[in-house]
Subunit: 313 residues, 2 copies
């Protein structure tokens, strides 16, 4: 039903804004770009906006240069597609009118905050939903679109490894390759083109790895950031090295921010729901991946979060 | 033709030995186990032998406990299936008779050293060839077999990222899931169940990461091994962090062995053929992944290999 409502709304719209969450990931970028190309085929005026820059590893994607960085909606639009957001705030865009927003999300934590809400937690990525939308709209999925969608699917499933990966995921991946996506080229750009500082930072973080029972944690200080020359986006994925340890059921990366606050990335591979913990500190996310920000210093933040996590396990 | 010859030879055989290379990887283990289950369905007496132990992350695979560790063939057999080997020596097994060996390999460096040789460099993994053999033999691919084959495919393609991954790879992955392989369960066992020392060792290796132009290298000393408590198999994959850096076209991990020699793992993502370099030092492999052993000390080995690689780039 939501899909039909979305298609009807798109039919009626002339100008469509497309956005996603702050600190965009591969699914945000890839799905936005594919949406944009779909709507261009449908003859719409489109605008692609994000509050943060496109991470380096996604800038080679077709049309990535069309994504504007802005926190303000300065031009009118008939409709806004907001991907992978559980609220308008998550986009960090000001000036969005909920009455004109279409919310497309695949997270179990998705909420119906918009005029039209399509939330499908069985989808491996929003890319899977965008692909279905293309089929419904009778839009031809070009090789460029397939490349964007495959990149989204690959990165959001952790190379087809995370929970939620299933037969439909692999079948879609195969279909996208048939349509022109090149899996090894995409993997090379996304996984084998890391900036050197990212690897140096990973080494520094791993030298601070601690494990206590089923809990593992890593820290990244401002000093680590400076010495490695790493950017904020280079911290992405570091916490996965802690959760990837045998016997560990919950993991956290504690990252000192320039203003002295501490950003936490939480992961779970057991029954622990780390979204609960993040929410208790004003953050959010999913049962197995969530985040929040605590006041510094690092040691105090570590003590608070580790106590909460120990209680959970 | 080779496939028909293999099936005819299997039909005529009563007892079949199955083996693969020393330091076995996921494709070696997964394909051996699936072969074993295929031959049991065909009513054969089978024996699974490897010269090295099954790495920890593959011990949960169905029937993995049936793989014997031995360097001697102490019992007679009618036929031996040797997977992923470019020679009998690669298996480090003594007592194998080439006249009874069937060589199944997907490497471009594969060589026809056996009585029957089936070398298909278009296959993403030997698992893909074993699957075809099952279909040809009319054997039902059980959920256990699909699990072993999926594990082999997943690990040998670096989660569907390495060169050689294509439509056929993803289609096969989907088929194996339809037959009962569970992608997230397999990924959890293989990628998210690392021993803690492996992560500590990775941190130590990354702290020794060096980049010079298009060349990157990492070192692991005996001191690193002792301090981290890591096992030899924990070094697997470390070199990939060096080749995954933007602009790097060739990478090497130099690992000090207990006897003072230095084991090298070479990777290329450009045009450089690192098999040539490995072969010049008495080793072998493929254009993009090879290995060899040099005399110590570490510094001297590093100087030799870096000079060779610089000349290549």
């Amino acid at each position: 039903m939501a899909r039909q409502a979305i298609l009807a709304a798109l039919d009626a719209a002339q100008s469509v804004l497309i956005s996603s969450h702050a600190r965009p990931d591969g699914d945000a970028i890839g799905s936005m770009l594919a949406c944009g190309m779909m709507l261009e085929q449908m003859g719409k005026h489109i605008r692609l906006v994000l509050s943060d820059p496109v991470p380096l590893i996604y800038r080679w994607l077709p049309c990535a240069e069309l994504i504007d960085r802005s926190e303000w909606i300065d031009r009118p639009h008939d409709l806004a597609l907001l991907l992978e957001c559980d609220s308008i705030e998550r986009s960090r865009l000001r000036g969005l009118d909920a009455a004109r927003v279409v919310n497309i999300d695949h997270h179990a934590s998705g909420r119906p905050f918009a005029a039209i809400n399509w939330i499908d937690p069985t989808a491996s990525a929003v890319a899977e939903m965008v692909y279905e939308l293309c089929l419904d709209a009778g839009v031809r999925v070009t090789a460029d679109m397939a490349t964007c969608l495959y990149t989204a699917l690959l990165t959001d499933t952790g190379s087809f490894c995370y929970e939620g990966t299933g037969l439909h995921t692999l079948k879609l991946a195969a279909e996208l390759v048939e349509l022109g996506a090149r899996p090894t080229r995409i993997a090379r750009e996304v996984y084998f083109s890391n900036p050197l500082p990212k690897m140096v930072l990973l080494g520094a973080a791993l030298s601070n790895l601690r494990v206590d029972g089923r809990l593992a944690w890593l820290t990244v200080t401002q000093n680590d950031m400076k010495r490695s020359g790493a950017a904020e986006e280079d911290c992405e994925g570091i916490v996965n090295y802690a959760i990837a340890i045998a016997g560990v059921e919950a993991a956290v990366l504690l990252r000192e921010l320039p203003d002295g606050q501490v950003r936490l990335s939480l992961r779970s591979k057991g029954k622990a729901n780390v979204a609960q913990v993040a929410e208790a500190f004003g953050g959010g996310g999913h049962a197995r991946a969530s985040g929040c920000t605590l006041p510094g210093p690092l040691d105090a933040a570590a003590a608070s979060i580790l106590m909460k996590l120990q209680a959970l396990l």
